[in-house]
Symmetry: C2
Subunit: 135 residues, 2 copies
DNA sequence: GGCGGTTTTGACAATCATTATCGATAAGCG
DNA sequence: CGCTTATCGATAATGATTGTCAAAACCGCC
C-alpha cells in the first residue's frame, strides 16, 4: 500500500517552488535550510517516485540528475536557459509525429524520445552582450 | 602541441568498429581483450578528446556516458535500440527549424538541442514478442 | 483510542563512473 | 642524438547515487 508522508509532500512542495531544474542534493539543502530534518536518501527516493508517477521531469547533466515539477500526465518538453536555468515548458506536436514516423520507417517500435532545447534567454543574452556591464 | 599516439588511434578504431553506443568502461575492456595494454584513464581522455573534436557523439544514460563514432562535422541525431544498442543516424531537418523557431519565440538565443529517439528495433521486437523463444 | 502488519524513514556504508595526481615514458623537433 | 614537454598509466580521490537495516510512522480495523 502507498502511504502519505509529510516527507513526500515536502519534496513535492520544494520541487514546485523551485524555479528551474534542481539536483537532488540542492533540493535537500533547501529543505534543510527551511528546517526540515529530512534525510538525503529520502529526497532521492521521493524524487524518483515523483518521476515515475509523472509529476516530475528529469534530465541528466554532468553526471547528475536534475528534476523539475511539471503538470502531471501531460507529455511535453523543455526550453532551458543554460545561464540562469529558467525553464519553459513547450509542446512539440510536430516533433512527436516526426519521431514516430522516423522510428516506424526504420522498423523500430515503442518509440520514446528525448527532446530538450538549451539556449540563452533574453535577459541573459542582453547581459552577456554588454561588455561594459559586468554583473 | 598535439601529439599522435597509438593509444588515441586505438580508441578511435575501437569506437569505429563498435556497433552502437558504448561506455568508456566497455570500450576499455574490448581494447584489453584485443591485447592492448591501454589504461582506463587514457580511454576516458581519448574519448572526451574525440568528442570535442567532433569525431564522436555522446549521450548520458543511467548516469554513465556512452560514446559513438560519427561522421565528423555533420549535425545529426540518433535512433537507438534500447535492447541491442543498434544505432541509426537520422537527419532531423524539421526538428532543427522547429527548435530554432521555438527558441526564438521565447526570446532565447544560441539554441542547441538534444534529440534522441529510443525504441525497440525490428529484430528485438520480434524476439520479445515470442515468449516461447528464449534467447 | 489502541493494535498489528507493513511501509517508509534516515544514518551510514557501499558502489560505481569519472577525474585528479604524479612520476615515468615517449613524441616531435632541432 | 638529446631536449622539452605532452601524454600515459596505476592508483587514489571524488562525488553522486543506491543499498542496508533497525527504528519510527502510517493505515485500516477493532
Amino acid at each position: 500500500m502507498k502511504r502519505n508522508t509529510w516527507q513526500r509532500e515536502a519534496v513535492r512542495t520544494a520541487l514546485t517552488t523551485s524555479e528551474g531544474f534542481v539536483s537532488a542534493q540542492v533540493l535537500h539543502s533547501h529543505l534543510r535550510d527551511q528546517g526540515s530534518p529530512i534525510g538525503l536518501a529520502t529526497v532521492y527516493r521521493a524524487l524518483s517516485s515523483l518521476e515515475s508517477e509523472g509529476e516530475a521531469d528529469t534530465l541528466q547533466q554532468d553526471g547528475e540528475s536534475l528534476y523539475r515539477a511539471c503538470t502531471p500526465g501531460t507529455h511535453h518538453h523543455h526550453l532551458i536557459c543554460r545561464t540562469c536555468g529558467k525553464t519553459v515548458e513547450i509542446s512539440a506536436d510536430p516533433v512527436e509525429s516526426w519521431a514516430q514516423k522516423v522510428a516506424a520507417e526504420n522498423g523500430f517500435t515503442q518509440a520514446e524520445h528525448v527532446v530538450d532545447v538549451f539556449g540563452t534567454c533574453a535577459e541573459c543574452s542582453a547581459a552577456l552582450a554588454e561588455p561594459g556591464r559586468v554583473v
